[in-house]
Symmetry: C2
Subunit: 457 residues, 2 copies
């Protein structure tokens, strides 16, 4: 094993924690395309966005110029409850792999939501509270986001209504129970509670739901209830902004020990964890100060970056949200029911999409059986049972570390370990029993789904 | 809120982590009574104990003289994977309660076993490996111990066989799945695999099992398999010794910021967490250097300290283990099936029992509905969903903090927060639905159970 001058876990001091989020769009020469009003097809104005989002969040959504945005003191105090998160040197994994690579992971799972989602949940709940709202609505798929938002709302005394994708609601009763413990109202989606839900149920009576549908239900509920706004856990610029706390802490922790990342790997569903992790490093690269290899890892069953189209698309099934230019599989795309965990959104953050289109990020897709294999290997040596989502990044990081073993290079690899798999044991059970299956959509399926993209002049 | 010169979370540096465990028996003028051979009723010899336990652990079990016992480097390296655990200042809870008390909790839940159990699991697995054994057997009730041991064995390449109390095996399928992910073989107890299991199943065909029965099955399996030894997660001196890492870190963290505990509260089932937490503080008190108020909190449904008898008793249902003098409810005592979580052992560590008998520890029993109420209150402000076991300590700590509010005293209260409740959502669900019930055994039930104590001349 190494001489270990670097500790297993690097914790920043409270005084070293970031006081500002970093807005990578300020450093992008070519900005992401603007959100469009779904009716007029013109760029959304602040007023239009403020009908859906809290005003401060709508401003953040549109802000392309301020490089740093101060984190309000109340949010920083909440962050202190579960942050700074550790940057862990994976000494044991390195030894197991017998690789000269240095592997680090930024571990965001040490809070009850079990993931990084709490970083944006508390910010969004804070601005909602500050605006005098009564409550917020949202959707949740795998459940981490709904849990995180429930925690933040409970802390601030806001009402929280969560539309949970029905198959997840049924397969993960304990996730729902955590949300209820934090006082949230959880409804399986599609539901009879909304017009869009009733419509979808009528068309597809046996449907097990989708994220796109749950989003539509949450937006409708926010619009129909005085004092409510819709908040969401990924994809949007504001969410990526809040998640930069991950990358800022990671960078500070590495610098504290004189280390420099060569490869930064994150899983990508909507893109918020990846975006938050890589943003400050990407900023350096955009400013010509440094260079890195960034890798986005997505499931082969929902391959928006690697097999999707870069185009304007609907963000939700009900088509009530603004249109976004992004890598997309079409808003009707639903990954195979055999797919475990999150990373099942049909599109991708517009920031990540634009950076990928500019060739600044690599993307890889991996099948879930090999992902769970990497997860178990990691769990057994590093003592953390990772979330299926995070394990996508682990899989590719191990691949990169094994390349180093071949070449003899001792590259520094940083993994975004977004969370724990404690509520994913059903999926782990399938893997343990050897009955987990992989599914890769055919070209025909993707082409069919992409037929319904909106026409933008 | 406070001025917060003390951070929310105090982490020791790796270099500040304890290098030795502390053996409180060395400072006790009157030692705990010795273990007795169940056949001869004479004190167990090292040779006799070494038939059940690894030799090094048998030595630790009998060691009453060495105040400090070095922690082998390999164990210290493993500890670095998930330790030091944070000592958290519960600023948010203090604010919620509007108490002048300063509340800290030592949080042991940031590892996949979800509790402090890993501290002893790795030590026991290490000594087993070092002795050239093939594997170990054990019992688990709520499941934390079995999970911890599975993790430790997987890390060291030891075979691990876990007998899991049947009702827990059925109610917590995901706990079982975590153990399987770490490669353990998990058998619901009582089982057809052992003689004692078959006997119990014949006598009580519908039984949902008990810890005492699972212990007997694990001991029998170890005895009948070459290269195996039995290991266990609480009660024994060796386990308390390993768990002193909790108290040593807590003390170092408090001292780092010039703080001194007034009240130290822990939950007590077999006593290992409580013993480990209070030991170094108790040592100071025994040596006349300092004084503290120690509170052991147990469930009203399994009240060994508050309503049991201090006597020699069997440690297991099959009566194959050594006899131990302890506070006990009788080895046939099984808490009501309505009781959630762990803390269901009929007896108590002999060290804790002796200290309690000497009046050095207070004990309180609490009913589970009020425990879950405290758990939810804590979760909503501190962001950690606590284990039902740990929540017993939270309940009493809140009581003590509220007394401070009445008297205006700003006492420093330290809670042993042993773990998370992520695998206990079934119980939280019952609480959320308002259908959780309390059960307090009658005097007649306890008297009846105590009739079968062994006769020692």
């Amino acid at each position: 094993m190494d001489t270990k001058q670097i500790p297993y876990k690097i914790y920043l001091e409270e005084s070293e924690m970031p006081k500002e989020w970093y807005n990578v769009r300020a450093d992008m020469a070519k900005k992401p395309a603007p959100l469009l009003n779904p009716v007029t097809k013109k760029p959304c104005t602040l007023d239009e966005l403020s009908e859906i989002f809290c005003e401060e969040l709508a401003k953040q959504e549109l802000n392309e110029t301020d490089r740093y945005i101060p984190i309000p003191q109340e949010i920083r105090d909440f962050y202190k409850m579960y942050r700074p998160s550790p940057l862990v040197r994976a000494y044991c994994l390195e030894e197991k792999l017998q690789t000269p690579a240095k592997i680090y992971y930024k571990f965001e799972g040490n809070n009850t939501s079990g993931s990084h989602k709490l970083n944006s949940a508390i910010a969004q709940a804070y601005y909602a509270k500050n605006q005098g709202l009564k409550g917020v609505t949202t959707e949740t798929g795998a459940g981490q986001w709904g849990t995180a938002l429930s925690m933040a709302c409970s802390y601030l005394g806001l009402d929280c209504r969560v539309f949970m994708v029905k198959c997840s609601y049924e397969q993960k009763p304990f996730r729902k129970e955590v949300m209820r413990t934090y006082g949230a109202k959880v409804t399986p989606s599609p539901s009879e509670e909304t017009e869009v839900g009733r419509m979808i149920l009528k068309e597809h009576p046996g449907t097990s739901g989708s994220l796109g549908c749950a989003i539509s239900e949450a937006v409708e509920t926010a619009k129909n209830n005085e004092g409510y706004r819709y908040v969401l856990g990924s994809v949007m610029n504001q969410v990526l902004l809040h998640q930069t706390i991950i990358g800022l802490e990671t960078k500070a922790a590495l610098e504290k020990y004189g280390q420099k990342a060569d490869i930064i790997v994150g899983c990508a569903g909507g893109g918020s964890n990846l975006g938050g992790l890589i943003a400050p490093f990407m900023g350096e690269q955009l400013r010509g100060e440094n260079s890195y290899k960034f890798i986005a890892v997505e499931p082969a069953s929902c391959p928006s970056l690697t097999r999707g189209k870069y185009a304007y698309d609907y963000c939700d099934t009900g088509r009530v949200c603004p249109l976004q230019k992004m890598y997309t599989l079409g808003s009707g795309f639903i990954p195979s029911s055999s797919h475990a965990g999150g990373l099942r959104y049909h599109g991708m953050s517009s920031v990540i999409s634009e950076l990928y289109d500019q060739g600044l990020i690599e993307a890889r897709s991996v099948e879930q059986t090999e992902v769970f294999k990497a997860a178990v290997e990691f769990a057994r040596v590093e003592g953390i049972l990772p979330a299926p989502e995070s394990s996508h990044a682990i899989k590719v990081a191990i691949d990169e570390a094994m390349k180093c073993k071949e070449t003899g290079e001792s590259k520094t690899i940083v993994i975004g370990l977004t969370g724990t798999g404690y509520f994913d044991m059903y999926a782990y059970g399938k893997y343990n029993d050897g009955v987990m299956s992989d599914y890769v959509p055919t070209d025909e399926e993707i082409d069919e789904s992409l037929k319904n993209l909106p026409v933008i002049d």
